[in-house]
């Protein structure tokens, strides 16, 4: 492992911006393009926001952001100890949301999948959710 990062934040919406800034700074050693930085910031924003608005709903808890650099690969984990997801497959479907009254569009997972190379969701109802994402950085513009 070339580098790693572990950040624990309170499930407060002000930490969405913070998480985006931290991951953007962390990945600079991979010499990313602006587009790659934006892609990763967006994916992290989606996962951290989900932990806050769905995992903990109106409760307070901790959101863990873990990141690793292995060669050209950026590995990211976003973890909460909240409500969990009973049906992950349905949750990942485009347009599925459990909060339509809050004007959620149900596109968070779709966005993560489009912006990252790999997205996995591990969840246990009542225990929490972990979103694992990977992306190769600086590969497309070398070819």
């Amino acid at each position: 492992m070339d580098n790693y990062l572990k950040l624990s934040v309170k499930s407060d919406c002000i930490n969405e911006h913070l998480s985006r800034q931290v991951i953007a700074t962390f990945m600079t050693s991979l010499d990313p393009t602006l587009e790659e930085i934006c892609d990763v910031k967006t994916a992290v924003s989606e996962a951290v926001t989900n932990a806050i608005v769905h995992g903990y709903e109106n409760l307070t808890g901790t959101v863990n952001l873990t990141a690793e650099i292995n060669g050209k690969e950026l590995y990211i984990e976003v973890e909460d100890y909240g409500r969990g997801i009973a049906d992950v497959e349905r949750a990942r479907e485009p347009l599925y949301t459990s909060q339509p009254e809050k004007e959620r569009s149900g596109m968070g997972f779709t966005v993560m999948e489009a912006f990252m190379d790999y997205v996995d969701v591990i969840s246990r109802p009542g225990l929490g959710t972990k979103v694992i994402m990977k992306k190769l950085i600086g590969v497309a513009h070398e070819m």
């Binding site: 002000i14 969405e16 004007e103 596109m107």
Partner: protein, 116 residues
């Protein structure tokens, strides 16, 4: 956020970032404006918007429903590359037309009015 009314077109300029921490605030500000003034169409000016995630998509779709109820049209003007990417990935561009500039968006309305 700045708001200007040009005829019955409300032009809303969003600056900086849209995420879950501020999307509700924007939603209420825009809805108030729609209630208080003779708004028919809504144009989002994204020239100075640097970041948006799916919370922004939800906020735009919500306004789309309101404006549709008024027989109006919602448009997006001058998004930056990242913002345009999420507009496309989310499928938003299929129901909300994207223009290079606010002027072009407003002109497209004139053409619709003229032809229709």
């Amino acid at each position: 956020m700045t708001k200007i009314l040009i005829n019955n077109n409300l032009v809303v300029k969003l600056i900086g970032e849209i995420d879950h921490s501020n999307s509700n605030k924007y939603r209420h500000e825009i809805d108030d404006e729609i209630k208080r003034r003779p708004v028919r169409n809504l144009i989002f000016d994204f020239k100075d918007l640097d970041f948006m995630d799916s919370s922004g998509i939800g906020m735009i779709l919500g306004r789309y429903k309101t404006i549709k109820g008024l027989d109006g049209v919602v448009m997006i003007a001058s998004p930056k590359k990242q913002v345009e990417k999420i507009i496309n990935v989310s499928g938003l561009h299929k129901i909300i037309p994207v223009y290079e500039s606010v002027d072009k968006a407003i002109n497209s309305m004139r053409e619709v009015a003229y032809n229709g």
